[in-house]
Amino acid sequence: MPSAAYLLSRLLQIVPTFLLVMVFIFLFVRLLPGDPAIAMAEAKASDQQLAEIRERMGLNEPLAVQFGYFVKNTVTGDLGRSILMKRPVAEVILERLPVTVYLSLYAVALSVLVAAPLALFAATRANGPADIAIRGLFQVGLSMPVFYIGLVLLTVLGAKLRLFPVGGYGRSFIDNLYHLALPALSIALYTSAILMRNLRASLVEVLDSEFVQFARAKGLPRRIVLTRHVLRNALVSAVTLLGLSIGNLMSGTLVTETVFAVPGVGRLMLEAIFARDYPLIQGLTLTFAVIVSLTFLATDIVQSWLDPRLRQA
């Protein structure tokens, strides 16, 4: 297991990155033309409300102090009030976040389910006709925008064949496996194309590697060679890739949530943009950044657990 010291040092690495992320988001509203307070307030805000916002954001202070206010407010969970929803931004986001997390995990699970067997199949037949066919198919998948995949699935599997609902969100965990099947699959088809390409390449590399040859030369049963030596090693790069593609995944949820009317933070982001709800846009951007860095962190931890070479901090 990774040591506590490793975990701590990894956590500390996040801090400077995150400060910079906060600087970006902080500058975001200040780059808008005009008074940031007006951008952050409802259209009909009274002078008193504007004054409150100025106070909260410290707009009369120097920029550095304002940044201090921003960090303080953010850390205490105060992301301002949504203009569109007329409620605290943090509250709105927390309400919608589970939907997106569910959808993302569902999509990850599906992409592993699709990519892993195919990658193994293709890798063990490297450069054979089956391998070329599978790779060609996924190359096409990679050239398809997620919204288009979604549209095709929605039309064919949803509207024509009526296998799945064409949109919306279910009422329970199980219900959502059914309700979110198409949006999750749309994302998964794209991410699994990336995953499959990478997993196939690393499987080919591992299968070709000396240590797998050595394991075979030792006369180990095929099952043990495959699980202990091949899959486990290929998994390291697959996990890295999955972790790194969290950004793709989030971009994917943004699009599919819109296409399939899934009430998650991705759709909220677009609603916020069309309504010019700057506090909400700001809060959501921050939320996405937090999700991504937590995923990177988790990836590092899993990786160091899988690969002893990474354990030294």
Binding site: P16, T17, F18, L20, V21, V23, F24, F28, L31, L32, Q139, V140, L142, S143, M144, P145, V146, F147, Y148, L151, V152, T155, A159, K160, I246, G247, N248, L249, M250, S251, L254, V255, T258, M269, L270, A272, I273, F274, R276, Y278, I281, L284, T285, F288, A289, V292, S293, F296
Partner: protein, 289 residues
């Protein structure tokens, strides 16, 4: 030619040999053909498209594919084939403009921080960490939210994020080249930094960047058409594939061709870029593995 230019490793642009190897690869040929055709369509849509992409024809609304309209017509009787062809102009432009400035800025920045290292490199490292902490699309649409929707603003937004990826790649390549003997030799010979960076290091570091650029142009089309679909990119009535798909979205059950055809154009063009990119990657890879 100075002595040093001969010390430096051979650049991969010995054209004749390169072309000979390239022409042996079906993937390269296919990619080249697709992109060549795309470029023609983008440059001369007026000569190729059978109809005016904007002209309404109320006598031919939502007609399925036929000889007169091979891709059918849309809700206003506009010829879908002509709109898809005119969209090549916008989408190929997107592929180019959304990436080229990012590449140039990234190359320069990456070369400089890679060469000089030190504090600039440390700061750059943090910026990279921070930028990759945002999902690409989220950051781009957040910037579009500030600037307002539209093609030019979209280019600005994508460039503002994307240069980081190029710079990161260039930096790594420059660092690798810097470690080579010829770079040390160049320093000993007392060449100016600018000359070392731009005459010696960059030409040897550039091929992975070019390969990435190819794939990135495919990604730019995916991203641009997604933004167009969401209403944040190209604006109607301009013909752009994402916009066309969005226009056809309502008729997907009754007039599937309106959405399907532009989608196929995206896939084919994207495939062209990735085929070319992948074969270039193979061709430019140093021999031996």
């Amino acid at each position: 030619m100075t002595t040093l230019d001969r010390i430096a490793p051979a650049r991969p642009n010995r054209l004749s040999g390169f072309a000979a190897r390239a022409l042996k690869r079906p993937a390269f040929l296919a990619g080249f053909a697709i992109l060549g055709a795309s470029l023609l369509l983008a440059l001369f849509p007026a000569a190729i498209a059978p109809y005016d992409p904007l002209a309404f024809d109320m006598t031919a609304i939502q007609q399925g594919p036929s000889l007169a309209h091979p891709f059918g017509t849309d809700g206003f009787g506009r010829d879908v084939l002509s709109r898809v062809i005119w969209a090549y102009r916008v989408d190929m432009q997107m592929a180019f403009f959304a990436t080229v400035f990012a590449m140039l800025i990234g190359l320069t920045t990456g070369a400089l921080v890679g060469f000089y290292g030190g504090i600039a490199d440390a700061i750059f490292g943090r910026v990279v960490d921070a930028v990759i902490t945002f999902p690409f699309l989220v950051l781009v649409i957040a910037i579009v939210a500030v600037l307002g929707p539209g093609l030019v603003n979209m280019y600005v937004a994508i460039t503002a994020v994307n240069w980081v990826y190029y710079a990161r790649l260039t930096r790594a390549e420059i660092m690798a080249q810097k470690a080579q003997d010829y770079a040390a030799a160049a320093r000993v010979l007392g060449y100016s930094d600018a000359r070392i960076i731009f005459r010696h290091l960059l030409p040897n570091a550039i091929s992975p960047v070019i390969v990435y650029w190819m794939t990135d142009m495919a990604l730019a089309i995916l991203l641009g058409s997604s933004l167009g679909y969401l209403g944040l990119g190209a604006q109607p009535p301009a013909a752009e594939w994402g916009v066309l798909i969005a226009e056809g979205r309502n008729f997907i059950m009754t007039a599937w061709w309106i959405s399907l055809m532009p989608g196929i154009a995206i896939v084919v063009t994207g495939l062209g870029f990735s085929l070319l990119g992948d074969s270039l990657a193979d061709l430019l890879r140093p021999k031996g593995r």
